[in-house]
Amino acid sequence: MVGLGFFFKFQLSSIEEKADTSCLLSNTVMLSSITSMPEIQCSVNANREDCIDTSKLLVFDASRIYQEFFNTNCDQKVYFVELYPSVTNGTCTQSTYPDCSYYYFFENEVDYTSKVIISTPVSLYYPLDESYKFGKLVIEVLQ
């Protein structure tokens, strides 16, 4: 009985750990796939570039097209943030652009007790003055 008790306790914690790892792994892959989405990626004469076009980011609603893509494994909040040389902190909308820093991309309206934040650097392109700025794609994995 004691042996079985230990076995199931370890088995349960191992399954929970594996679920968390799998969730983190799928979101790490997502870091790479989001930056390659043609809807938001920069392109010059139909050739893709390694950057995010902020004017596309501003008008693209990921929750309408990519709902299933984001909800496969676990819940998350996805956004881009400009880090350098940013001087403002506000959320980017059609009225605040380009004097803003946060571009919210996808968000699940769920209750959560903790979150794991993963991120990757991205180059944010501003077509108005044709400049590239340092930003980050951030995924908050909600648990």
């Binding site: 790490t28 990757t120 650097p121 991205v122 400049s131 340092f134």
Partner: protein, 140 residues
């Protein structure tokens, strides 16, 4: 206690030891998986950061990639010594990305453009500009 009973107890102890051994084995095996995830994330981060560095606009349509190219040929950019701009801007970007100054090395050819060298496990990415290797190395 009879000899047969003692042998059964001994056998049970061996079975329990084997069981706990297996449990510990599987626990360590799952830990190595999560390290792989961390390394994959770091690899992506280094590669993307080098791309950001190349593209970053510094002044009047000049990118940090252009400044790095000017530095490789001992030139000027943004009205000052190109290599000074490289060292300052790289340090700023690395700091904002959340790394300390002793956690990275930035080389243009064999010349180091970061405050210090670092040791330990490393992940690196590079590109070639005018025959010179530009390399970003992260220590962890």
């Amino acid at each position: 206690m009879k000899k047969g009973q003692t042998e059964i107890i001994g056998f049970m102890v061996i079975i329990l030891l084997l069981f706990f051994g297996l449990v510990f084995y599987f626990r360590f095996a799952s830990n190595s998986d999560s390290d792989l995830t961390g390394e994959a994330e770091l690899n992506l981060e280094v590669s993307n950061l080098l791309n950001v560095i190349k593209k970053q606009t510094i002044c009047d349509d000049e990118s940090l990639g252009d400044v790095i190219k000017a530095c490789a040929s001992d030139g000027f950019a943004c009205g000052e010594n190109a290599c000074d701009v490289v060292e300052r801007e790289i340090a700023e970007i690395i700091y904002l990305n959340g790394w300390e100054e002793d956690e990275y090395m930035f080389y243009i050819g064999e010349e180091l453009y970061s405050p210090s060298t670092c040791t330990g496990n490393t992940i690196a990415d590079d590109y070639i500009v005018e025959g010179i290797d530009v390399r970003l190395i992260i220590c962890y």
